[in-house]
Symmetry: D2
Subunit: 335 residues, 4 copies
């Protein structure tokens, strides 16, 4: 017996390496003589039966491309019963045995939702720059995003040093500080504000003000870079910069890295992770697996129940936090 | 007779290649057996007599560094008579025969101001990412800035394509559209909004709305990128994006590239331009020149009276404008 | 009357920006309601009538891609009378009024050869990383190549400094030192060996040895980078490094940048140059022009008779040469 | 009691992130009120008592720099008893309690050798692009090297595709295929030749020839990229390319990435790894540890006896090998 046809889609925010994952699914599918279908626009494509067969020729030379050739989208109607039923009917009609969903936790909730209406196999691959998916050490796209952020922060450091000025750099990471922490450690930032380190995900602006004033007092005029995760301050980095200006009397410039963090050619590690997970997804489908996300832990592919991926919170590396907030904070050791 | 001591400073917004220019001044000064002094923090350093001698060893391996090792600053007190007199006294005391100022038009106004109080030679080098200095085909830092902008816009295009969404990307260029035009042509943007192309430097939001609606009508859902120069819309790109959202009903995301455009390792052309102008500045000083900016026109070093650099406006390349706004605008040729 | 159909091909070594030029031809052709055909594999495609129509959709999102979607090739049979006659017959059969050839001097010789057998219009666009085409300040691909070279040389400098070692870095540029000179000035190399600076295009290894020994004597153990154009030494950089090892007793490592210099996403200036020249080629075709190459001089598009492009030699910038070989050579001023 | 003074040096081939590791040692040492000395030129500095105190100011803004500010070297005399004794005497004289050695397996053998003559603490940090150190998932510099290699291979792919040609790309990795495997998977190379996959570390050129011929037969003229580790073929990639030319009749171009893989600004992961290991090295020294290398396994810092680091061989990821050599090899599934 065995399965004959698999389908793949990308959903939620796009991430570098999604194309590499699609390619891996197609090449591995070809290796095992499976038909591979590509659904467009995430779950919208499922609801509107918008797909095309994918062959190795279709994925030639896309491993290095950002974005996703299958397009992505967010799709509210799919969250209804009617929406998921429509998708299930379409999958059945197309003869799909297993569906591989590349996306983040929202996409996996969608996959779980679908599985109540469709008895095909559902397998998730973590594709998001935020790295906020439990059950995998890294998500496809995260490695590229932290290098894109860092490359741009290095540029801001040049100006910060030239002008001995405060810069407040906002990075992505809705409710998770992975990008922010790596950006701070990697750039040698003077301060970092992350959801995991803020009580009730709110910045203690008094403490930040005191830290800046202490830096000025001890070191004199100097450059000072704050990395801040998005959504931690009402009005965002622009408003926070104004507040700091007012409180410290020192010019504080906001830089919002924004969507530049989502795109670009994936770095080596994202291509490798995507290749491994994409290939393994096909093998998991062949083995009859369903209701799982595939991740990588300790350099080995692993399987995680879909629901775990969003119900548990992945912690930051505590040693990195300690380095950034204590050991490398020169001000912490001075009177 | 001849001169014995030259000084160099960087002023105004920093630009990639300023270090390469400083290095060139130091190496050429060394070649001609001159003492070279480096003043810190722009005109502040002149007023506070903050300088150090610079030798070839001090500038080893800085040609590839962004920022400026001499620091930069904006300095209001220098604009007074007392301020310039203080600077003149300090230059005399330090035995400076010629002062080389690396900066933009504001810095050159400062140099002109100084020359009313000091009888040493004053020579300007154009260092600004904005390229808005008359008398030189390019300014030091411009070439790097347009590549930094483009690299980041390419990334946004990945997401714009994946989501078939509108992105509004704000680039630097206070009152000049050089960065914006090159970013638009280079990225194949669907629309560009530049000060030179807007009446009274104000965006015609009705025309923009119609263009977007036409694109949607003809091409269906699609990605659409607008490059916009800073300062063209009250509230900036964030406010403009909200307005467009409201008018078109289509999700429109702002991306503000901001200060990432100022830093980074200079590209090859900025290093070459800085090297040529820095070397030539020393030779111009030796030749007794003063009150001029050195630029490059048609690949040759040229001399321009300081006052011309800000009193005349450098035009955009009209053929590039025509390509971007007419020939490559697919919508312009469809009903 | 007027023309109805234009064709475009890329020939010779590929260069970043060729895709941008193809795109510009297609978009401008569309703007003027022309049919645009794309011939594959350079002149081979002409001989084998291998072409496809190109529409704006075909060139969407290729402005940033290296290589050439039309493929390239070198083609010996085309140089015969029979070969060119076959190509001419094919062009006539396909109804082509004007052919746009993107390539270097060898490709332009081919275009000239073709024009003896075909009475359609022939227009050349300079596309080669070497910049060795007379009549244009820069060729499409040159700007990207010098940044790719420089980026990699910066990396080697890190190691050269860490080990205080001699590195001999070979760059491309068959018989022209444009890449080599910009790489040397841009990287602050200690020495540069270019065809234009070598008598009979041969390296004076005695002078090079003495320069290295002087550097060691004056500065002690130190890093020392030599930029050398390809083809200047029998056996290439590997053999030259061995010779220098033997002569100086100091470890000398060769690095051959090779084909990495040909590829990659084009930088901003190459995209703009390609866009301008591609658009102008269509307008020149409409104006009935033929037998010319379009180039850019002093930031304006210009026309050059095809034969001039290879019969005259474009000189290096003499001031850059003087900077590199005299003014910035610290050893030249010490005993 | 407790220790008062620690020293740090870099040894062997330089690697991106060495500066970040030095910085981490200095900042953590400062945090714990230790004196930190930096020895220059690896073990040569120990023998010649060439050191300087390092303070936080000395390591400001070096986290992003390639190379090593402490210089590196290989040092034969240190391998003798007299050499190590001299080093031990010097360390004692300088009051060093613990020595932190950043380097590869050769450097760790040196550290072990030293420990027979000196009773201070010796701690190793893995710093090499080759990743061939047992006991740590990655070495400082490896992450950057694979991205540098990949970025350049992507460029070659552009040309390979444009010309439908064979390219043989030689990457570093003396006796380990980590760089080669990641480069192959990441670039979607058609073939990979690694020491671990070759019997007696010798290439089976017959099999390679057959694979190329099969590719040509099935796919027609096409691009074909082979990634090959250095030292696998007598005469290197140049000789192998010539052999393949002769055997297949197809033009085969060699590209030797060489020393460009060693330098450059470290990527985010190398900066984080270096920061963690550098900080932990100071804490391990404070805890009285000696004779160990610190590495990272499963995202946690770990300790490994020095001798294990070179006596055991770290294996390649078997799933990545299988993907590259079987699942993604389209030719393996066709007749």
């Amino acid at each position: 017996m065995g399965i004959k046809t698999i389908a793949v889609l990308t959903s939620g925010g796009d991430a570098p390496g999604m194309n590499a994952a699609i390619r891996a699914v197609v090449l591995a599918g070809h290796h095992y003589n499976l038909n591979v279908l590509g659904y467009q626009h995430g779950y919208i494509g499922l609801m509107e039966q918008e797909y095309q067969p994918l062959t190795p020729g279709d994925v030639y030379n896309i491993i290095q491309r950002g974005g996703t050739l299958l397009k992505s989208a967010r799709c509210e109607p799919f969250k209804t019963e009617a929406g998921a039923q429509q998708a299930a009917d379409n999958l059945q009609q197309a003869g799909v045995d297993a569906l591989i969903v590349i996306g983040g936790d929202g996409s996996f909730r969608g996959a779980e939702h679908l599985s109540h209406f469709w008895d095909g196999q559902v397998i998730g691959l973590p594709g998001t720059i935020d790295n906020d998916v439990f059950g995998t050490d890294a998500t496809i796209g995260y490695y590229t995003a932290i290098d894109t952020a860092l490359e741009n922060i290095d540029r801001v450091r040049d100006t910060a040093d030239a002008f001995e000025r405060i810069f407040l750099i906002e990075v992505m990471g809705r409710h998770a500080g992975f990008i922010g922490l790596s950006a701070a450690v990697g750039s040698g930032a003077e301060q970092v504000l992350l959801p995991e380190l803020c009580e009730q995900e709110q910045i203690d602006i008094d403490a930040l003000t005191r830290h800046i004033q202490k830096a000025q007092k001890i070191r004199g005029k100097c450059s000072y870079i704050v990395i801040v995760s998005e959504n931690l301050w009402p009005g965002g980095a622009n408003a926070l910069a104004e507040d700091l200006n007012r409180r410290t009397g020192i010019e504080c410039r906001p830089v919002i890295l924004g969507h530049v963090q989502r795109g670009g050619s994936p770095v080596s590690l994202d291509r490798m992770l995507a290749s491994k997970l994409g290939a393994y997804a096909v093998e998991a489908a062949l083995a009859g697996k369903s209701g799982i996300m595939l991740g990588e832990q300790n350099a080995k592919v692993c399987e995680v129940p879909l629901a775990q991926t969003w119900s548990q919170r992945k912690p930051l590396d505590p040693y990195l936090v300690r380095i950034q907030t204590e050991m490398f904070d020169l001000l912490s050791t001075e009177a």
